[in-house]
Amino acid sequence: METNKEINFGYRKQKIKLLEWEVKFSFDQNSSMFWEPEFEIFMGDIDANGHHELTIDAILYYRPDKDNYAFMIKTRNVFRVGFYNDYSNKNFIISILMDVALAHTRAICLDKNMEEKLPLPLIPNFKPSMLHRYANIRLFTPSLIECSYERRHQSGKLNAIVGNMNIGIEEFRNYVIKFEPKPITHPDSIIAGLTHKEGEMQGYANFNYDYEHHEGDEWKMHIDYGMGILPIAEIKVRSSFLLHCKEEELFSIPVLSVIIEEAIINCNERFTEQCKVHNIEFDGSIPANDEQLKMHSQHVINQYFGSRKKDDINNNKMKNDPQPMTFGENTILITKGTFMILDEILFHNNAFDHKHNWEAVSECPIIEPFYLTLKANYMEIEKGEIQLTFFQTVLFYLCLDVALQMMISEHSDKLQAALIKNNFVPERQKEYIKFGNEFYKRLNKNLKDCGATITNLEARRDWASIIR
């Protein structure tokens, strides 16, 4: 079938990397052998310029038959893609970039051939129609690339007036932290007595926040807004905003009201969208009202000036002594594995008691908004060195400790289905345990060398017994 499309898009390559290659058994070139491609594709966050990060792992197998392969090569290709608001051609554009990823792999494979003196034929040109089919049926498996959160809609520009100042607010990211259908058969709906499809409904909401203060007057404000409608579903969405303003401007009713209102709108939109994805018929919403906005804003202001600001002053020294962390396969494995496991026990996997587990880890203090900020920062590691505060470093090692204990305890069985689905296969799990333990020991040694004493790390908790 012919396709004739006018498409408008731009891309820029961020990374091309050989990830893996393997000669499984010796082979002679013969006409029955063939190349077969496979792709793992992930559409990541959107940046301030409205560009998406698209990661395409291209895996090429050289096969004697459909069940075996003699050789495989896998490359990672990271692009920045501008769709210019034209998402109707998204799959078509992805298929073009799959072709580009294949070209990279073809050249790398050829060089590898020469290095290793392999008798491999050239990876052929795969037909665009075939790549289109792949792009159309692809699964955005939230695998090792991005763990379990998903990219949401485009960033927006907002503003608020404080006194005579017009404060610009840039929404740079929003994503679903968790969505859980709660039909009439769900325990929460049963407990609430809402067991009739056409009957009464009950709505509830929850609110939390975190912020990051960078050099100068740059602030990142994260709003975690959750809402539930029984007997329909429950959702939690994080909306993140970037501001350049003074402390007293950010922590003011006008600015916070704008930010929180946008977060509530996002949450409602995502709720509607997720209901569609899960085939749930519902088109209602819980809109924000002025009283609610004022109440949440005042809560943030009180908490900031009452306690968090003082904590920040005490943390200043830590902030000035950030721990650099650099890109490396093991680091990425440890980082992504840790958050994948924690996401399961805290958000996604219903074999775990999420409420209990949050209460347990909060004592550390792995508090939900801190955890989400930590995860977002660590996920940047693939793009290069990240600078973490001392507090974040300690928090990560606490998360690592929990995750490692999960993997070597009986809890591991409950995690397997999700981990394998997310491409965290047993071989990677073994590496994770090995390198993760080494990583953990290294931190303890570093801390001791610095003369630091971190009680939370020194007295290791028995997470296998605590987590339920």
Partner: protein
């Protein structure tokens, strides 16, 4: 005939990774390169071949690409890469060859350079640098002229 249909019929028969050179002094630039100036040379050569079995004639298209990378401030040479991608396709009429198809032939050839460069640059001061693709602007307003020169 759409560009997609022509792409379906295109065969990549060989890539010659001809030469990749990194400056022996590349390490001194580590972390100091603000901007890289890029020189690019491209050429497309068309020949007719005949299939030895079917005796049918077909076109052999060779796209030659060379990138030269220099530090934009000092103008010192950093690296260069040269590769040629050889395609085969049935004999094309001038009216069939669109600027999009012409660009596609070059794009894939450039991406071969990009893949090879990324692999070889790993561990050097240029490891985070990627050779970017070319766009129509690279040819100015002469694409149609080039197409006529080759297929006319």
């Amino acid at each position: 005939m759409s560009v997609e249909s022509l792409k379906e019929q295109l065969k990549i028969v060989s890539i010659e990774l001809e030469e990749i050179i990194f400056s022996p002094e590349l390490e001194k630039f580590r972390g100091k390169i603000d901007k890289i100036s890029i020189g690019i040379s491209m050429d497309l050569e068309k020949n007719f071949e005949r299939d030895p079995v079917s005796h049918k004639r077909y076109e052999s298209l060779a796209v030659y690409i060379k990138f030269i990378l220099k530090d934009d401030v000092s103008k010192e040479f950093l690296a260069s890469i040269t590769a040629t991608t050889q395609y085969e396709i049935r004999i094309l009429k001038l009216s069939e060859v669109t600027p999009e198809f012409y660009l596609h032939l070059h794009t894939i050839a450039v991406e071969h350079c990009a893949g090879w460069f990324a692999y070889r640059a790993a561990g050097t001061a240029l490891e985070n640098y990627n050779l970017q693709h070319i766009g129509p602007e690279q040819f100015g307003n002469k694409v149609q002229e080039y197409i006529i020169n080759i297929w006319g």
